[in-house]
Subunit: 201 residues, 2 copies
Amino acid sequence: MIRVLIADDEAMIRSALAALLRLEDDIEVVAECADGAQAVIMAGKLQPDICLLDLEMPELDGVQVADRLRSTGSATRCVVVTRHARPGVLRRALASGVLGFLPKSRSANEVAEVIRRVAAGARYIDPEIAADALSEERSPLTERELDVLRAGRRGESTVQIARALNLAAGTVRNYISAILAKLNVATRQQAVLLAEERGWI
Amino acid sequence: MIRVLIADDEAMIRSALAALLRLEDDIEVVAECADGAQAVIMAGKLQPDICLLDLEMPELDGVQVADRLRSTGSATRCVVVTRHARPGVLRRALASGVLGFLPKSRSANEVAEVIRRVAAGARYIDPEIAADALSEERSPLTERELDVLRAGRRGESTVQIARALNLAAGTVRNYISAILAKLNVATRQQAVLLAEERGWI
DNA sequence: TTCAGGTAATGACATTTGTCATCCCCGTAT
DNA sequence: ATACGGGGATGACAAATGTCATTACCTGAA
């Protein structure tokens, strides 16, 4: 019997996956969690074989949960599912010891198979994302430039960003100018959209 | 037998819901669609009793699909499920003839029950959202102002928005100025964020 | 009929952004 | 040692954006 913990903040998909996995006779769903913090606690208590973690969750995201579990020395193996499977995210996930990586664009009945493989000791990385990850370039922006972009992601003005980062307004303008040039877009908002899409911020 | 069409751009939840509904012996899943445009076509061909529509989809969103189906005189009844159930969205949905409204924060096994009720001629609106909708204020913006906001939601320039709507650039600036004043924010991006949060666009 | 409100446009103006050249400081790889 | 890149800053300039007053047309309610 493979003992599985499921964490996803969206109750509908969490319960749907749990119901489907319960139909498999070699899988037992031992916990359903609505956020990352809860997942860490329950995983510690129950020591499941597999944690099926959604990436997008409040408190702690799926990768952070995997990171915590690994650092506590837990033997639990983590599978991460995500809505927007960007190569950058895959890199983060692998660095945190995640063994399975599956975008939500795959069918639900593949989940059981991935769980079995990972439980058996193998790794499963969605082939499409893996291919992307090899080709797609990482962010061309420097750390500081990303800071500026993050600080301005909600349409904040130059001065507000400057205040938030303890910089001069002109410096912020320079950074933004560099960002726009590197990303080849015309406005901050487009830069933010692009960076969010690519998983850089 | 209740004949159901499912449309959701996320394959995992789409296939999971389909699989669960297939377990019910009074429900038959006749189609699975990955976007709104496809849903309209298939619904036209198959004339299902119920369309289970995700709100967030490319091409046409769930409410737009319901709108189209109604305007073609189809007898199909629409149930909309959504990730972010804002009162504004519920209002839009009801105006488009949607009969069932269910946030994804509900459990998957409630879906079958809602489908049965709607198929039987009743309406089902998630009680929590319904309560919110009564309290929350509607958009203070005019139709045209919303058009402008929508046209500029990706950081488009004034000229681009103007071209898209066949307006003079100055007119667009006026509209935006009015929007910012009404919403009491300083930049377009903040206006877009606020309007999206409130479900106005 | 009058009036309010939505739509559409101009022109003038102040501010904010984006661009560019130039400077300084620092750490590190050559 | 020195050249290079990143972080931080200034000043100047052009373009885009936001503000305001004013005008005009149309529609529906009082």
